[in-house]
């Protein structure tokens, strides 16, 4: 496996907003400002010495109580030099730009984030809920979403006369 910090150095040379945040014992990752995330990922995909052509995963983490609240994590991989890199950004409820124009794989993944966290992605071609029904209320993976409904422990009584 190639050394990730090398790629991060190249990236931070191209972008002023990117800073490298080591997250032991996890993967070395680059924290990028929200406004330049699309540009950074564009560089990561198309620059010849980076060429991370595969979006392995894209997901969100809810750090409730922090500002900005959500962390979006992109895991990228290159089929050319077998490198793997983790890019992160922070955003609030306003969401951020889609990357489905760079990787079609992001289409489903961003819909999942939209469904589970309620973060909209600007310019997404088909932003709908993916798991829950269209009329579902709330976003399950937000920390304030309850694990059980209010009537969870109440007995289920069928009212025959009503039906």
């Amino acid at each position: 496996m190639s050394d990730n910090s090398e790629f991060l150095k190249i990236l931070s040379g191209k972008l002023s907003g990117a800073k490298i945040v080591p997250t032991p014992p996890g993967e070395p990752s680059a924290m990028v400002e929200k406004d330049s995330i699309h540009e950074a990922l564009d560089h990561l995909k198309y620059d010849r010495d980076l060429s991370f052509n595969m979006l392995v995963d894209l997901f969100a983490v809810d750090y409730m109580g922090e500002e900005p609240r959500f962390e979006i994590v992109y895991i990228l991989r290159s089929t050319k030099h077998n490198g793997r890199i983790v890019v992160k950004t922070r955003t609030g409820d306003e969401g951020l730009d889609t990357v489905s124009d760079l990787w079609p794989a992001a289409n489903f993944l961003e819909r999942e984030i939209y469904d589970m966290f309620g973060l909209p992605f600007a310019n997404h071609p088909d932003l709908r809920r993916i798991y829950t029904p269209d009329d579902f209320v709330g976003h399950p993976l937000r920390k304030e979403f309850p694990l059980e409904g209010e009537d969870f422990d109440k007995p289920f009584v069928v009212d025959l006369e009503k039906e």
Binding site: M1, T23, P24, P25, G26, E27, N53, M54, L55, V56, D57, F59, V61, D62, V73, I75, T79, N82, R84, V86, W103, P104, A105, N107, F108, L109, M116, R129, I130, Y131, T132, P133, P140, L141, F145, L147
Partner: protein, 390 residues
């Protein structure tokens, strides 16, 4: 210009060829597909949410319920991520047993695929042959874990218990029998004119598209991209095994079939090597704060009993941090990204289900194809909805 009217057809969610509850809305021009939209979520159980509210131990059995055709692989991926967080190194014997079991699981999953996909294509005989061998394989796995589909045997820190007596002989006789059986499937399918007609040049996915859609596993390799997590980022001592990565050239369904059959043969090689070179030694890591004591000790030793209850009731507390571990499951790259905040419950568990991303490519694959090819294309991806819907 006259107004063109497309017909909209609902495929699923109860269609047998969708292997679960997948609904695909097709827009048809005659019998040609103009647009297709997959709808998922019918099996959504919120496993990622449940993870956040359970201890690390309690999260373990949930992984079996993801891709229910390869429970061992799911256990392994979760354990690798947790072990990365804990920073523990697993004994060699446990690593070899893990490799052996996950390869047997891959064989079982691929057998299930060959059997059911042939049935989808109208070749019913293969179903019975495939299920016979799969049953034998599951019996081998059952002697280890006590369960056919939900093993929960690979635990973080090692394995649940030592291999039962007679397991090696059972595994050996299964492995020795299998190559002849795969030859039998090949005589039924590989040169079969109808099979070739249904699968060749159908469901085509180019290497560039496959990479762009994040497709992994046999589907990606059938498109000619040499990416296998076992080789690219070896885990659990895979670097010590001698095996090849079968690649396709055309990226159609026929190539996916060939790749999967070859993969089974390679898995046989790996299992044979693992049996031959199985080292002696402990099967659990020596880390008393994370790993519960042996059952016999719990019955006789007071300190062990206390430790057992401490770990099971309180849970373990990995240090603060993040870890991503991925494995090559039978469907593709299965990854777990776990964020620990230092408490006994994970702050966030992200599951990267290979089938989910593979399914994303299906619309591209069946664009302009015929309705009958939709069944072939969906089947060739080997999706499991339990994993997609989480």
């Amino acid at each position: 210009m006259a107004e063109t009217k497309y017909m909209t057809i609902n495929m699923g969610p109860q269609h047998p060829a969708t292997h679960g509850v997948l609904r695909v809305v097709l827009e048809l021009d005659g019998e040609t597909i103009v647009k297709s939209t997959p709808h998922i979520g019918y099996l959504h159980r919120g496993i990622e949410k449940i993870f956040e509210n359970r201890t690390y131990w309690q999260g373990q059995p949930l992984t079996d319920r993801l891709d229910y055709t390869s429970g061992m692989s799911n256990n392994l991926a979760y354990c690798l991520a947790v072990e990365k967080l804990l920073g523990v190194e697993i004994p060699k014997r446990a690593q070899y047993i893990r490799v052996m079991l996950s390869e047997l699981q891959r064989i079982a999953a691929h057998l299930l695929w060959v059997a059911t996909h042939a049935l989808d294509m109208g070749a019913m005989t293969v179903l019975f042959y495939g299920f016979r061998e799969r049953e034998n394989c599951l019996k081998v796995l059952e002697t280890v874990s006590g369960a056919r589909l939900m093993p929960d045997y690979i635990r973080f820190g090692g394995l649940r218990e030592e291999l039962p007596g007679g397991f090696i002989d059972m595994a050996k006789s299964f492995i020795e029998e299998l190559p002849g059986r795969i030859d039998e499937y090949e005589t039924l399918l590989t040169e079969n004119v109808i099979w070739k007609g249904r699968t060749k040049n159908v469901g085509f996915l180019s290497a560039e598209d496959a990479i762009a859609y994040g497709v992994t596993g046999p589907v990606l390799r059938a498109s000619g991209v040499n990416y296998d997590v076992r080789k690219a980022y070896p885990y659990s001592s895979y670097e010590e095994f001698d095996f090849e990565i079968p690649l396709g050239t055309h990226g159609d369904i026929y190539d996916r079939y060939l790749v999967r059959l070859q993969e089974m043969r390679q898995s046989i090689r790996i299992v044979t090597q693992a049996i031959e070179r199985l080292p002696e030694g402990p099967i659990k890591v020596d880390a008393p704060q994370y790993v519960p004591p042996e059952k016999e000790d719990v019955a006789s030793d007071m300190a062990a009993l206390i430790r057992h209850f401490k770990i099971m009731a309180d849970g373990i507390k990995p240090p603060k941090g993040e870890a991503y571990a991925s494995i090559e499951s039978s469907k593709g790259e299965l990854g777990f990204y776990i964020i620990s905040d230092g408490t006994e419950r994970p702050y966030r568990v992200r599951i990267r289900p290979p089938s989910f991303l593979n399914l994303g490519s299906v619309s591209k694959m069946i664009q302009g194809a015929l309705v009958a090819d939709v069944v072939a294309a969906i089947g060739s991806l080997d999706i499991v909805l339990g994993e997609i819907d989480k």
